[in-house]
């Protein structure tokens, strides 16, 4: 009965292109670009639960104040370089754990409980491969051998988790036992005392060598210049293309801040034994993984899988592929940590990877600001967290506290970090729902 007549819109063509006049966008509120506005935005973000590295800065200040007043030795150049050495294995392992935590699936936490013993396997394999004449691999080949084994272990875990559907918690709990068993078998089989020494000096240098003063300065200055270059270039491109850019004042402030921090750190380290070689190695890994997570599509997809696996799947991302890659990266970084661990102790033994290494590593990743709920965190948080954890334990060691006390304090700090995480998450979701 209805003979529908004139539908009023004759347009057939797909939408006309938008006029793109080179003005700034209509999104920012009036008065954009000022330092005051920028700070106000940051403050609003913090209140809304996007804390960034703020808790860590506060934590470090508290640590410095407490241990600095209680113990004269804490704020010395010697202790500063000691800290840099002590934090290295934890930091390397925690970088891998950050990746694993990033892909946590909503309510289900993804975790690797086996990471410390996988690291130990890597260290043991490397140590076995470098033994003179048996088989006597060159130092670099021994390292690659160790890394290959731990990466393969990561892949194995990943396949069990993604293809067979066993939760990461259980898979890696089994891995915890299996790989600690492997470490025991290997070390006791090749040494009656259960300790295998590293004889190659270059392997020992990895975590025990210091750079000469001028190399330390050269690297420090290169880092500052590189940082300034990247920051300024980013600001310029955004301005040229008419997008909101960080105000110049903030950029200068950040560059000066980084410069002061690095000059101070190099100066302090040089007044003792120099900048540890391992600190530079960690820095290279930090740069590389930060680049991967924040500047590549692969990195973007990792965050998407952690934020909403469903959205990622519908966007055509291979969710399982990302998970496998993440556990492989974690296995690789476990190997790096194992190499550092073995180098630092100049040997591997039956108890390598044991003790509270695992807990320190996971605590470091979480304290650094990586969310247990997935999708939020940065690689650098592994370094922050490792620094905090190491500083607390180093300070308590200097004070000569009992082991029991140290455990309790570390546990409380970990709990505080998780509380900060879940409270800020609650604020984020609360804001999302209103």
């Amino acid at each position: 009965m209805s003979e529908d007549t004139d539908t009023p819109i004759p347009a057939q063509a797909p939408p006309a292109p938008v006029d793109s006049s080179p003005r700034t966008s209509g999104f920012a509120p009036a008065g954009e670009g000022g330092i005051g506005d920028y700070l106000r935005q940051r403050w609003n973000a913090i209140r809304a639960g996007e804390l960034g590295s703020l808790p860590i800065i506060v934590g470090l200040i508290v640590i410095v104040l407490i241990f600095g007043t209680l113990e004269d030795q804490f704020l010395t150049a010697r202790n500063f370089t000691n800290l840099l050495l002590q934090m290295a294995p934890i930091a390397a392992l925690a970088m891998g754990i950050v990746f694993v935590l990033l892909i946590a699936d909503g309510e289900v936490v993804t975790i690797d409980l086996s990471v410390a013993f996988v690291a130990a396997v890597g260290g043991v394999v490397m140590t076995l491969l470098q033994r003179p004449g048996d088989p006597g691999w060159p130092w670099w080949a021994a390292i690659l051998g160790g890394l290959a084994v731990t990466t393969a272990i990561g892949l194995l875990h990943a396949v069990i988790i993604t293809k067979l559907g066993v939760p990461s918690f259980i898979t890696t709990l089994a891995g915890f036992l299996v790989w600690s068993g492997v470490v025991l078998l290997l070390t006791t089989r090749f040494s009656t005392a259960g300790t295998i020494r590293i004889q190659d000096d270059r392997l020992i240098d990895i975590a025990n060598n210091f750079l000469s003063d001028w190399i330390g300065w050269a690297i420090g200055i290169a880092v500052v210049v590189g940082y300034a270059f990247v920051q300024v270039r980013m600001m310029r491109t955004r301005q040229v293309r008419g997008l909101d850019a960080k105000p110049l004042g903030i950029v200068i402030f950040q560059i000066v801040g980084v410069a002061v921090l690095i000059v101070w750190a190099v100066a302090v380290a040089n007044s003792d034994r120099g900048v540890p070689q391992i600190t530079i190695t960690l820095g290279v890994f930090l740069l590389f993984w930060t680049f991967v997570t924040s500047r590549t599509a692969f990195g973007r997809h990792i965050y998407a899988v952690g934020g909403s696996p469903e959205a990622a799947r519908r966007a055509g991302i291979s969710v399982d592929g990302i998970r496998v890659a993440v556990f492989a990266i974690n296995g690789f970084m476990a190997g790096v940590g194992g190499v550092i661990l073995a180098s630092r102790l100049r040997s591997v033994a039956t108890n390598t990877g044991g003790g509270n290494l695992l807990l320190n590593v996971i605590a470091a990743a979480v304290i650094g600001g990586t969310s247990l709920f997935g999708g939020s965190g940065r690689v650098v948080s592994a370094l922050y967290g490792a620094l905090v954890i190491t500083a607390i334990q180093n300070g308590m060691d200097l004070l000569g506290l009992a082991s029991g006390t140290k455990f309790i304090v570390t546990g409380i700090v970990l709990l505080l970090a998780v509380l900060v995480d879940s409270i800020s998450k609650r604020r984020r979701t609360a804001r999302g729902l209103t």
Binding site: D4, S25, A28, A297, H301, A311, R428
Partner: protein
């Protein structure tokens, strides 16, 4: 009932499409069409076949029988990829946005623009802003805001903009776009739907809310128990008439019986 139009050929025309799940006829000989620049509402009670029709169009559950024409040419759509290639995009009710990513990252998720293997953030941000501006979505504080901080209406806008941005999209299907929204938010989304049609897109909107439909739709296709029981022109019908069609519209076929016997 709505046959032989003058003028505009429909962008999408389904003729006599059916879909059975076992013995259940989820869709039976349904005719459906939508023109460029038109908002076509798809209404019906729960289980009337709205979702099945949409899933057939985008190839998630391909039709068992019937013809589908797009742009005047017969097409076979075997999956969402085929639909996207034709220029059909669906905005689902749950939106499928990643809360932890910002607006730009969500709009380009899975189709990131890269330069020398690095994300080209500037190009993506520019394009996102232009798309949102073309849809007159101005309530966003910044496209660098995470989606977690957006209101329901803003999320819907981002999801729609994402669908629109994909170069050749010609037809946008919105599944219950206002279901979870308050009054002001609903207003924003309905305005957005109107703008899509003005810009020449063919828009299909599924909704339970007749009030919303009467605000934006040009025509209304009513499904009942898997059959199409009418295509109504919004300006020549009333809500009562639509409700009547939804609940008691005349069924043209009796599934299972010979076709000749049921041709009225």
């Amino acid at each position: 009932m709505s046959d032989n139009e003058s003028g505009a050929t429909p962008l999408l025309r389904c003729e006599g499409v059916s879909k059975a799940f076992g013995a259940v006829h989820a869709l039976y000989k349904v005719d459906f069409e939508v023109r460029a620049g038109e908002v076509m509402a798809l209404v019906g009670d729960n289980g009337a076949g709205k979702s099945t029709l949409i899933k057939g169009i985008v190839g998630i559950y391909p039709f068992d029988e019937g013809r589908v024409e797009f742009d005047g040419k017969p097409v076979k759509i075997h999956g969402p990829k085929d639909a996207a290639d034709l220029g059909i995009e669906v905005v689902y009710q749950d939106l499928a946005l990643a809360d932890n990513l910002d607006v730009v990252a969500n709009m380009f998720l899975g189709r990131e623009v890269t330069k020398a293997r690095m994300l080209d953030e500037v190009a993506m941000e520019k394009r996102s802003q232009e798309t949102l501006e073309s849809l007159k979505v101005t309530t966003l504080r910044s496209v660098r805001q995470t989606v977690a901080g957006l209101s329901g209406g803003q999320r819907q806008a981002v999801a729609v903009a994402k669908a629109v941005m994909w170069g050749d999209s010609k037809m946008i299907i919105l599944d219950e776009p206002t279901a979870a929204l308050g009054v002001a938010q609903t207003r924003q989304v309905l305005d957005l739907v109107g703008r899509l049609a003005e810009q020449g897109y063919a828009v299909v909107i599924i909704s339970h809310n007749l009030h919303d439909i009467f605000e934006v739709a040009d025509r209304i296709t009513v499904l009942r128990l898997g059959q199409q029981v009418g295509v109504l022109d919004r300006r020549e019908t009333t809500q009562q008439e639509v409700v009547h069609a939804i609940t008691a519209g005349d069924m043209k076929f009796v599934p299972g019986m010979d076709e000749e016997t049921v041709q009225a």
